[in-house]
Point group: C3
Chain length 223, copies 3
């Protein structure tokens, strides 16, 4: 592949990330704000739960990889954005109204895109730290899903992605991470392999939602 | 300001910290021991919950800032002190008796002072690591309040500071952190800005308790 | 003591660790898989809970000591082994059957050995980072028991080792860690002191189980 082609790809990928990441942060934050409010939390609770949901997975990745500055320190617009969102959500909900139909319509799409983006960025960061393939895919899953796990711990629920009734979520992240690393192993460029991974996770998640796919239960039981 | 004056201030501040910090650790540890005991925990549970309540916020700060040794490794008298407190609390409660009226009377005062001190020390540590103002104030809040959040996770309660009925707590920490960083921006010395921040947090917290101030609920509701 | 003798001891200890550690990981993982399944979790939940139970204490130790690579990145066979175990447990339980009587019989023995091994390895790692004796023993306890604490947080239970009805567990870890550091202080070789510590923890735990030893309740009560 010619260098300019690769450079174009990387530019497109960076543009894609710059476009998707803030929307994914918003969508993940909303998925923290709503259940926090339902648990009768005040503004502090809603903000901290929204923060942890949106930024917790990436924070855990940075801590486990020993990478500093933390990504929400480097991108301080994310915690500020979440603060603004929480203030609007709690105190000026009429500003929400025009966006609610939009949010409802596209929530799952952007949540699935965010899952794909965070998973692949987590795997890529792990590979950049010379972490072997299998643990690197686990770093991808941690980055993609642990924000939601920490949210559920804070609101005292069994983590949603652990429940039998939940359609595939962490599994989509895991499969997309493997599509990404196998793509790299097969000689695809970073950009193409990333797109492959993100697309795999996102499409698989959307199909899991549409057809209500869950993990098979299996015959195993306890005692 | 003359150099000697500043040096005097710093000396006073260090003395203040040396005075307040151990008392704050004791007060925070007590606020972990009591609910742990109410949950029928044994000595191990009471110690770990007291440890996490008193030292968890600072540990999280050190981990997120990548600062070592951890402050309770450098000040190993803190975990030892908490062990002694737990042993007295569980097995020699009559040694407590003379202190109980004192503890009841001054608990809120020292908890508010501890909140102020930990919040400002967390913000100062973040600034020393070149972290921008807004995230630095978040580090202050994390240092001040996350011990209590982790306590509530371990005893299976919705974190107290997230509940609508709780009078302002994290908010006092946040406002005090901003008083501190704005004081620094306006050219105040470290010592004066620290005193300003600690005083702001402490007085605001005491007023919140006295007048039962809570965050306004706002018209926002879910669905 | 002659050098060759010490070398022999170290070789024996390393062989012991190479033998015990994988078995301990399996036993700890099982002690996560079973309660996760009882909480109706799917494969993702069972895997993450098993992972956290078996590898969470060591991960926390590595993070707090700022040690990289994480031990489950360096030994990536552990997370892979846990994945295989979970798949067999859920989807091919008949492969379990021949091992179940064996597992039931030796579960407590290997759990106690694992507790001893992890506790001493955590203390040794802390000492290698120049951490003073008392905090070093706390690192041992964290390494030995925090996997189980994090498991209980994820499955929404008060941590088992905090409950009055639980026979001594963290206490055995703590006592064994002190046996190890005091052995070192008294001039024992690393290998002998490690064996002393592991044996102390393991035997104390087995006795606690057999005679149902718990911490004394003490006269302390709250209010």
């Amino acid at each position: 592949m010619e260098p300019t082609l690769i450079l174009n790809e990387i530019a497109r990928l960076t543009a894609l990330q710059a476009l998707i990441e803030p929307i994914a942060v918003v969508v993940f934050a909303i998925s923290g704000m709503v259940p926090a409010r339902l648990k009768q939390m005040d503004g502090v609770g809603v903000y901290i739960v929204a923060f942890v949901t949106a930024l917790g997975g990436g924070t855990l990745r940075d801590v486990l990889l020993n990478q500093r500055p933390l990504f929400w320190v480097e991108n301080q617009e994310y915690p500020i954005l979440i603060l603004v969102l929480v203030l609007i959500f709690l105190y000026a909900p009429r500003f929400n109204l025009p966006f609610q139909p939009l949010a409802k319509r596209y929530f799952n799409l952007f949540d699935a895109l965010g899952l794909g983006l965070f998973s692949i960025s987590g795997t890529a960061a792990a590979l950049a730290h010379q972490i072997p393939l299998f643990p690197a895919t686990l770093f991808g899953v941690i980055t993609g899903v642990f924000g939601g796990v920490l949210r559920d711990v804070l609101i005292l629920e069994i983590p949603m992605i652990f429940r039998q009734s939940t359609s595939l979520y962490a599994t989509c992240s895991f499969v997309g991470c493997w599509a990404f690393v196998l793509g790299l192993e097969l000689g695809l460029s970073d950009a193409i392999a990333s797109l492959l991974g993100i697309t795999t996770t996102t499409l698989m998640r959307l199909m899991a939602l549409r057809f209500n796919l869950t993990l098979p239960l299996g015959p195993g039981k306890t005692e």
